[in-house]
């Protein structure tokens, strides 16, 4: 794909996500789809983080932990510190990144299922910690969190106060969509940089990479921190939308789903987790009409998809490339 084509594809994608989809929703009157798509966008940000840890050859089932931590950082700063949501968003991400460095230094030495299991346990630890800590309000959670306030720089309004918006749902949708686009732009940039090449070398053989002078310890902590940053901002944004947060907001199921999104989309493709999230979340929503057979159909489709395309949905593109 030439550079020009690539920019055209990006422009087309932006047009669809930011203009066509809202217009279509407005025309069809299905306002509930705003929430669904906002959730897809935010979940795909967290999944992007998981994908990046896959990229260094680690199975990460702990993204729910960072989403929860990010959510609590944002919620506590808003309710107790009276700080605008827009400032808590990067702070939540940074906090998660720092935390992940501390946690990652010891556990990133693990590999394969061992790493997967420790991160799974991490999700449970974060939930139980949120229950036990004195300032998180236990199982009752934090509720009635303010909507994002106005963001202005030198008196210039960049983002209006969400509570004054005629349609805050559309506002959230745009916010989530723009964040998703930025996240994937960053991810794409990382993968197609020197850092991305080094990460691939980790994925293939850490000892070999290390022997030719790659600082593997630093690289995996860096990748893990970026991944957790994504988890943190996704969690924080969810708090802004639902205006509430409980220790059960992000739990093991969510962590597992983030990982499944990556598998389903395809581990070899930057945009895999985005597609995977869309398919899994939207598919689940669409099947709601089937009532008690929802789970049966959903899981059967998942198994069938796995049998048909074990390398993810985007591996269809591989086949086409091979044939031509």
């Amino acid at each position: 794909m030439s550079n020009k084509q690539r920019w055209a594809a990006v422009a087309f994608f932006l047009l669809v996500v930011l203009v066509v989809v809202p217009a279509a929703i407005a025309a069809s009157g299905r306002v509930d789809l705003y929430y669904t798509l906002t959730a897809v966008a935010l979940l795909s940000i967290a999944s992007a983080g998981v994908w990046l840890t896959f990229y260094i050859g680690r199975i990460n089932i702990g993204q729910g932990a960072y989403a929860l931590v990010g959510g609590y950082v944002s919620a506590l700063l808003i309710t107790k510190g009276d700080i605008s949501f827009w400032w808590t968003l990067p702070l939540a991400g940074m906090f998660c990144a720092l935390l992940s460095v501390l946690i990652g230094l010891p556990i990133l030495r693990l590999r394969g299922v061992y790493f997967a299991m420790v991160t799974l346990v991490l999700t449970e630890v974060s939930r139980l910690t949120a229950l036990a800590l004195p300032f998180t309000n236990g199982a009752k959670g934090i509720t009635s969190i303010k909507l994002p306030a106005e963001l202005n720089i030198f008196g210039l309004t960049i983002i209006p106060d969400f509570s004054t918006l005629a349609n805050p749902k559309l506002g959230f949708y745009w916010m989530a969509a723009i964040m998703m686009v930025l996240t994937y732009a960053v991810l794409w940039r990382i993968v197609n940089s020197r850092l991305g090449h080094l990460c691939r070398s980790l994925q293939q053989n850490e000892e070999l990479a290390s022997s030719i002078g790659v600082n593997i310890a630093w690289l995996r902590v860096l990748a893990y921190a970026i991944s957790s940053f994504f988890g943190g901002i996704a969690g924080a944004s969810f708090v802004a939308i639902s205006q509430s947060l409980y220790p059960s907001s992000f739990q093991i199921t969510d962590s597992v789903n983030f990982m499944l999104n990556c598998f389903l989309g395809g581990l070899g493709f930057v945009f895999g987790p985005m597609l995977g999230t869309l398919l899994l979340y939207f598919g689940w929503d669409l099947l709601f009409a089937t009532g008690r057979f929802q789970l049966l159909i959903y899981s059967s489709l998942m198994i069938a998809l796995m049998l048909w395309l074990p390398n993810g949905v985007l591996s269809l593109m591989d086949r086409k490339g091979a044939r031509s």
Partner: protein
């Protein structure tokens, strides 16, 4: 104190049996069976149905659970895991499949058995009471002993039968086992069936004590994962130790911190993370399983 130890042993015996199945599947195929907890729940429901709907004796129900789950395990291996492992670029893809199977079994259980908590009446009445130092209902003792007996039978089977030897060879080195004439496909299938059968039998055993419900699958899987992590993934002795250690920790923790169950689990999970950071391969495991 004695009570705590006895409780721990009783819990540990069940846990060990669940962990054995999981670790067997993992060692043979490098598959982390996310559906293990669901297989356990399904086993419980099969026993429940056989005993309370059809009026069969408990032991027959237990056998039915074992047979049904072994059949399911064999089919799942042959028609789902084998093709996916063959076609996928990365081994971890089986995780998505395993999770899909977990959801699928959940759906089946929901449709066939509903979401109610089910239980069977006690198989033996009475309480063992040793001067109020150790108090234990007889049925728990019986189930605990049965579980220990099953573990013993399993170990004997793995150590002394031809099938067991073949499976141990497979777990050690797949290529070498194939070169020695071990039919990898066949023994993978038998191993998976055996692992699923163990899960089903534990479910059948516990349906008389704790009862069984749809929501138990996921947490059971996670507990089982922890046990095999403690002992070392893919090692039989490790799984048994992991099961007993977790059972003991739960028993001790719940006694010491009786007021808040959450703190107990937080302490268990946190100490497990620290332990794994220090000794990644678990107690008995080989590095990088």
């Amino acid at each position: 104190m004695e009570q705590v130890v006895v409780n721990g042993l009783y819990l540990g015996a069940q846990y060990a049996l669940i962990a054995l199945g999981l670790t067997l599947i993992f060692s043979l195929m490098n598959v982390l069976n996310f559906a293990h907890g669901q297989m356990y729940v399904l086993g419980g429901f099969v026993t429940y149905t056989a005993v309370s709907q059809f009026g069969l004796p408990f032991i027959v129900g237990l056998l039915a659970s074992g047979v049904a789950l072994a059949a399911i395990g064999a089919l799942v291996e042959k028609y789902l895991f084998r093709p996916v492992i063959r076609n996928s670029k990365r081994e971890e893809s089986t995780m998505l499949l395993a999770a899909g199977i977990a959801f699928f079994l959940d759906a089946i259980i929901l449709l066939l058995f509903g979401e109610k908590q089910r239980g069977l009446p006690k198989i033996v009445d009475g309480v063992f009471n040793w001067d109020f130092i150790v108090v234990m209902p007889y049925d728990r003792i019986l189930i605990g002993l049965l579980a220990i007996a099953m573990v013993a039978v399993f170990i004997l089977f793995m150590q002394h039968s031809k099938t067991g030897r073949a499976m141990r060879a497979l777990a050690q080195d797949k290529v070498a086992a194939r070169l020695m004439g071990v039919d990898v496909d066949r023994y993978s299938m038998i191993g998976f069936a055996l692992g699923a059968m163990l899960a089903g039998i534990v479910g059948g055993l516990l349906v008389t004590i704790t009862g069984i419900n749809l929501g138990m699958g996921g947490p059971t899987s996670i507990n089982a994962f922890m046990m095999i992590m403690i002992g070392g993934a893919g090692v039989i002795s490790g799984a048994i130790m992991g099961g007993f250690i977790l059972g003991m920790m739960e028993s001790v923790g719940l006694t010491l911190l009786a007021s808040s169950g959450e703190i107990t689990y937080l302490a268990i999970f946190a100490s497990l993370m620290v332990f794994l950071a220090v000794r990644p391969q678990g107690l008995m495991g080989k590095p990088w399983g």
